[in-house]
């Protein structure tokens, strides 16, 4: 009985849907988090009566055949990369990106990772690092006696030194853009890695053509919308229930048959 296995594919798909939605809700307050969405596709079709075949010797054609679909599968779980809201934190080392681009972060392994979460801190040596202590590329060291740090719209980091009236430039933040942001490989800890699907990064100063600008003292919140997520959760849950009803019905039909004798 195909209906059983077809409904089972439906239940598995909805289960995954609920998992994706629950991860979105769990990350509702994660800085720089981008929500995901599960996208489904129909499975193979069995042709019982092929559409377009001849139905007689005189060339009449079957106008609509009999095709039994075999269920559903997950096509992709993709990331919606649109802008999150700006949260004013007032922290000098919180930097939000407005528009396209990622901060480049060096992992302890030496690899480059990319992030939208701009909640930076200073390390013991005065370097600008992420909340996990990974260096933000290119490495920028703020002198230990600096009284104030300013990060401009286009990424210039300036430090005010005691006894000096003009701030001194200590470095330049850079942003990396990809042809396909949604193709990046999420690593957890708000970090992404480059993949063949994302394309290779092009590094540029913020504010140049096609690249976003920076905003000091703000953090980009997650772009999860609670109302959308809850309504998707309801839809997914009901779809799951209906698929289970199909399994019950198919089971009852089989039990009718087995009670024949």
């Amino acid at each position: 009985m195909q209906a059983l296995s077809i409904a089972a594919t439906g239940m598995m798909a909805q289960q995954l849907n609920v998992e994706v939605i629950s991860n979105n809700i769990a990350n509702m307050s994660t800085t720089g988090f981008k929500k995901q969405r599960a996208e489904f596709q129909d499975l193979l079709y069995q042709n019982l009566r092929r559409v377009g075949t001849n139905s007689s010797d005189t060339g009449t054609v079957v106008p609509s055949g009999v095709q039994i679909g075999l269920g559903v599968k997950t096509g992709s779980v993709y990331r919606i990369m649109n802008q999150g809201d700006m949260d004013n934190t007032g922290n000098k080392l919180d930097v939000a990106i407005q528009g396209r681009g990622f901060f480049r972060v060096q992992l302890p392994s030496g690899e480059d990772a990319y992030t939208r979460a701009g909640n930076f801190s200073l390390s013991a040596t005065g370097q600008i690092v992420t909340s996990d202590g990974y260096t933000v590329q290119p490495g920028i060291t703020v002198p230990s006696d600096a009284t104030d740090i300013t990060i401009s719209k286009d990424g210039q980091v300036q430090a005010t030194m005691p006894g000096q009236t003009t701030a001194q430039v200590v470095g330049q933040l850079e942003l990396a853009t990809f042809p396909n942001d949604a193709g990046l490989d999420p690593q957890g800890d708000n970090l992404f890695l480059e993949t063949a699907a994302s394309g290779s990064p092009s590094v540029a100063t913020p504010g140049s053509t096609g690249v976003g600008t920076l905003l000091q003292g703000f953090l980009e919140t997650s772009n999860v919308n609670a109302v959308t997520e809850i309504s998707s959760l309801i839809t997914a849950q009901r779809a799951y229930e209906m698929n289970s009803k199909v399994i019950t019905a198919a089971d009852e039909m089989m039990s009718v048959t087995s009670n024949l004798k």
Partner: protein, 250 residues
């Protein structure tokens, strides 16, 4: 005598297939661009029931075909600029290894080289039949109501540039299209242009499966299956009685 059982059987196997179709509709309740399907049944009349009663005819049921409900699904807002929903008639054109295929599922993305592709990585075709590729510095992609794609470079004045138009086409007979996997349809018909294309950017067309209709259909199928079963049981009982009574008479 066997006829009653065989007629019941023909009904049961038809019901089994309909159940599969309903199960597939419900499984694809959240599949973008999916169109619900229903079975068409036909009476198959056998002119002569048996040699003993030549003037009686028998009618079996057979599955004649399938009907695709081509009504629009609900428009669901996703906020992704590369999600495009068609309202009204029309299909997107997709280049696959097997040739051009058609789909209502407008969930597109860019691949590593900046080409507009489907979830499988198959290129989406423009109205001139060629793939659409964007440069790495092209930021905002805007898709107008008629499918015209415009890009701009953020931070640059007057950088809007028309990058072509999504290829959207329709066919004379929408039932004569074969469902393939991955939300694709194929047909041998020639493409005919859509008079007024209306697409919505940032949205996806949800499946047009109506859960209540499917659930009630499912109940009907289940009960019809049981009634066919009763028919078979009754025929079986009659035969059993006949055997025992005739044996007693002899």
């Amino acid at each position: 005598m066997d006829n009653a059982i065989l007629i019941g059987l023909s009904r049961q196997s038809a019901m089994m297939r309909q159940m599969s179709v309903i199960a597939n509709n419900i499984a694809n309740m959240n599949t973008s661009g999916y169109k619900s399907q229903s079975m068409l049944f036909d009476e198959y009349v056998m002119p002569v029931a048996s040699e003993a009663s030549p003037d009686k005819s028998l009618s079996f049921v057979q599955d004649l075909g399938q009907f695709r409900n081509v009504a629009d699904g609900a428009i669901q807002t996703t906020g992704n600029p590369l999600d495009v929903a068609i309202t009204g008639e029309g299909f997107f054109k997709v280049q696959t290894a097997q040739g051009v295929r058609y789909t209502r599922d407008g969930h597109f993305q860019l691949d590593g080289s900046g080409q507009l592709v489907t979830q499988e990585g198959n290129p989406v075709l423009s109205d001139s039949g060629s793939p659409i590729t964007f440069g790495a510095d092209e930021g905002e992609i805007t898709i107008a109501r008629d499918g015209t794609i415009t890009t701009s470079r953020p931070g640059t004045a007057n950088s809007e540039q028309v990058r072509g138009k999504l290829g959207i086409t329709t066919f004379a007979n929408l039932q004569d299209m074969k469902s393939e996997e991955n939300n694709l349809l194929s047909t041998t018909q020639t493409e005919s242009p859509v008079q007024s294309v209306r697409v919505v950017q940032g949205s996806i067309e949800a499946s047009n499966v109506k859960p209540i209709v499917e659930m009630t259909n499912m109940m009907t199928v289940q009960r019809s299956y049981e009634s066919a079963q009763k028919l078979i049981e009754a025929a079986d009982d009659m035969r059993r009685q006949a055997i025992s009574q005739i044996a007693a008479a002899a």
